[in-house]
Symmetry: C2
Subunit: 237 residues, 2 copies
């Protein structure tokens, strides 16, 4: 793969800041079937990034341009691209070098942490990926052109990808909510409202944003655990 | 009070972003004594800020300089000063206009969110205020001089101030830990490890940082609740 002079390695790395500590595909209070090996629990921090449509890739990077895979993400088929864009907010504040993730999608979408949206001056609502109707827009600037998005700027709601088999092990189904407890010295956090996105092929992986990852100091975590939204509580009551 | 042309109003405002929704000084499972009115629960986000010693105030702002109270904080006697400093990290990255809080203290101390410390390139440990031994230093730049701190850069650990009477109502004592649950649309969070700092006069107030406030979207919260670290659980088990 050709290296790009514009590549900001730390941004690519931040997109895939991950921790694997859990081993919780089978809740402790539910006997694991013989041979039903629990999956590892991967927790990934998604730094700010954008998804682009084919048309917007061509506008931003030139006619005929395609995204250049730079680093594979944990989910098969997804990648951080070599390409970045500048995101400009309504008051001309901007975020330079925001990573593009591939593959392309039917609609372009920008995913920010709240810290980013505050610094841009955009009031990004919490939405699940793809649900962008009525969300704020922004301007994307690439080396060959500019795209004005009418909508598509969101704070991605926390979620967990898993296979249907993992979902069955946890006793949940696609569309349910779970809790993620991250035990970290002096800053343990339980994230509720974690949407289950289960399908035939996804690997078990939680996606949180940089604010969430920093709030619980994910890099220093000693334990990560998925729990059902109701129940699985270890309190003494 | 004279207005300062350098005043960044939004920074002062961010220091006191607060929400009052709770009414939880008496846990629901503990009958409130007659006439024992529960205190309101104030949750405040502390934006990055610093505390200075008298000597450092004079070095940074000139001989004989004193801090100028600009805005009273919720706890009696504490204030956001009109003064700000620039904080410079080890790789010459800097944060401009970091608010000074008063009154002065025996030792200077810089309190950052993780997002700030990452952008500065300082590996700030989670510490309780005042416990700065062995923490990283930084350079403070003021209009009249520069101070090189050998230590004192921390991420302030989340905590709750309260009176001894409130502590008694919650069934906790100074030095105990509690949990703070912030219910927010699609991003509810439970913060564990909330240190109780109880004394005769403090008002009931939680302090979290901007990463924590953004992770749970405090501004959009519909309910805030203090819980004992063990127990007070509302799960169905």
């Amino acid at each position: 793969m050709a290296s790009s002079p514009a590549l900001d390695r730390s941004v690519v790395e931040q997109i895939v800041r991950q921790i694997v500590l859990g081993n919780a595909a089978a809740p402790a209070n539910k006997p694991t079937e013989s041979g039903d090996k629990p999956a590892e629990l991967m927790v990934s921090i998604s730094a700010r990034h954008c998804h682009l449509s084919d048309a917007d890739v061509e506008t931003l990077f030139g006619p005929g341009a395609k995204l250049t895979p730079e680093k594979d993400l944990y989910q098969d088929g997804f990648f951080a691209a070599a390409e970045t864009v500048m995101i400009v907010g309504p008051r001309k504040r901007m975020l330079p070098n925001v990573r593009v993730l591939g593959p392309t999608r039917p609609y372009s979408q920008v995913e920010l942490a709240f810290t980013d949206s505050i610094s841009l001056g955009i009031d990004a609502p919490v939405r699940h990926s793809g649900n962008i109707k009525g969300t704020p827009g922004c301007v994307l600037v690439g080396p060959k052109g500019v795209v004005e998005l009418q909508e598509g700027v969101i704070r991605a709601a926390r979620h967990v990808h898993m296979s249907n088999k993992d979902a069955e092990r946890y006793g949940v189904k696609n569309g349910d909510f779970m809790k993620l407890r991250i035990e970290s010295p002096q800053c343990t956090v339980v994230f509720e409202d974690l949407l289950v996105r289960a399908d035939a092929t996804s690997k078990l992986e939680v996606h949180i944003d940089t604010d969430e990852g920093n709030a619980c100091f994910l890099d220093g975590a000693t334990k990560v655990e998925l729990q059902k939204q109701e129940g699985d509580c270890k309190c003494k009551h």
